[in-house]
Symmetry: C2
Subunit: 210 residues, 2 copies
DNA sequence: ATGATTGGATAGTGCTACTCTCCAATATTA
DNA sequence: TAATATTGGAGAGTAGCACTATCCAATCAT
């Protein structure tokens, strides 16, 4: 398969495929001569993945390159790789503040939830940023709400983790893509659940008992 | 308070404040002469809100203007306003497909969950896009996972809705800002719950019983 | 053998969120 | 009062990003 066939298969301009090759989002084809290379099914799949990451998921080319590199080559330490890969996904994390207590809001939150607080987890910075944003916009998150969200999302995490493949390569792909692709699904479901609940209430259905 | 004091208070360059004025993200001050205007505490608060929307939440100027306009002036139909405001938030929705069944994946999903399917809910298009992205990237969402996420997020929706203020103005602000600002918190909590669960397992703690 | 296609490199485009520069009118300060 | 600084307002400029277009010599396809 030559580049024009590959581009047609993926529904992309040839120039864009060349761009992804240059940016190392797509592996090179096998050269058959000085000015020709052959592409196969793996390139088609990869292009679909790249489009998903750059489009709906909303990664930058830089972020996508990082994520794809980790999926391609998970290192020896699986959990470190998972952490690094997930932290390459948006949203951007908050920069650490005061050295003695860089993420005070996140620390307090995790204490409340009874979860491990480790400032080296990239998601801690992300939580700090999100809590700080809510606070600075004048809508701080109550402890009650935090506790509720935390309970619910631990539930989701257990579900996801129970389905993680054992093989490292597959585990990284599952975790990264699961995070990148399923998070938007969760958000859409939350919004729809809001609508659904609101409509039921408008119709006069009683709110569900606790 | 003059513009330079306002900018200093908010920690922004004067040029940026002027830019927000021009873009109608910030209401004008009260003119005290041809070349002077006075700003007050409401401008400081608004700037904080604008920064939160443009920064951590990741809205474009256009989207922020739409959201802020609806917060400022909720119309008569509260639920329509809520829908319009929330649909101005990212991520972008999928364009409708075939006219007879524009969002097949979302329809099937909502049927499974026993929720109302109304193609006019903007979040339906968003769900369709997210499901399509997962599918095209080679990680379609199983019915089991969908059911689980749906259950969990209905729980969140009930919690949120129970705390929505009754007064329209406040309700729009609560819903829009709650969606924009709390969603990142939820995502960070999910990632942390994953880490927490993974760490516990590494330590040899038994997985929780169902 | 002749026109199309290729990989590769360089430059250009369109968009966005600022940021800079100017200006005449007005404040502030010496 | 005179010199200096600041203001609101408008237009142009900038930097970053994801492409997209153009060139080129080498090589295919017919």
């Amino acid at each position: 398969m030559r580049i024009s066939a590959l581009a047609a298969e993926a529904g992309l301009p040839v120039a864009t495929v060349k761009f992804y090759l240059r940016e190392r989002l797509l592996h090179a084809g096998t050269a058959t001569s000085a000015t020709q290379a052959a592409y196969d099914e793996s390139h088609v799949r990869r292009l679909r993945l790249v489009r998903a990451l750059l489009g709906p998921v909303g990664l930058t080319v830089q972020q996508a390159r990082t994520v794809l590199a980790l999926v391609d080559e998970p290192g020896d330490d699986l959990y470190a790789t998972l952490g690094r890969a997930v932290s390459a996904l948006p949203p951007a994390a908050a920069p650490p503040g005061d050295a003695s207590d860089p993420f005070p809001r996140a620390r307090a939150a995790l204490d409340t939830l009874g979860q491990v607080y480790d400032p080296d987890f990239p998601a801690v910075a992300q939580l700090e940023g999100a809590l700080a944003a809510a606070e600075s916009a004048g809508m701080p998150i109550s402890a009650e709400r935090l506790a509720h969200y935390g309970r619910v999302l631990s539930d989701v995490a257990e579900f996801d983790l129970a389905r993680m493949p054992g093989e490292p390569h597959a585990a990284v792909e599952y975790t990264v893509l699961g995070t990148a692709l399923y998070e938007p699904v969760m958000l859409a479901l939350r919004r729809l659940a809001h609508q659904d609940a609101a409509v039921r209430r408008l119709r006069g259905d009683p709110p569900p008992v606790e």
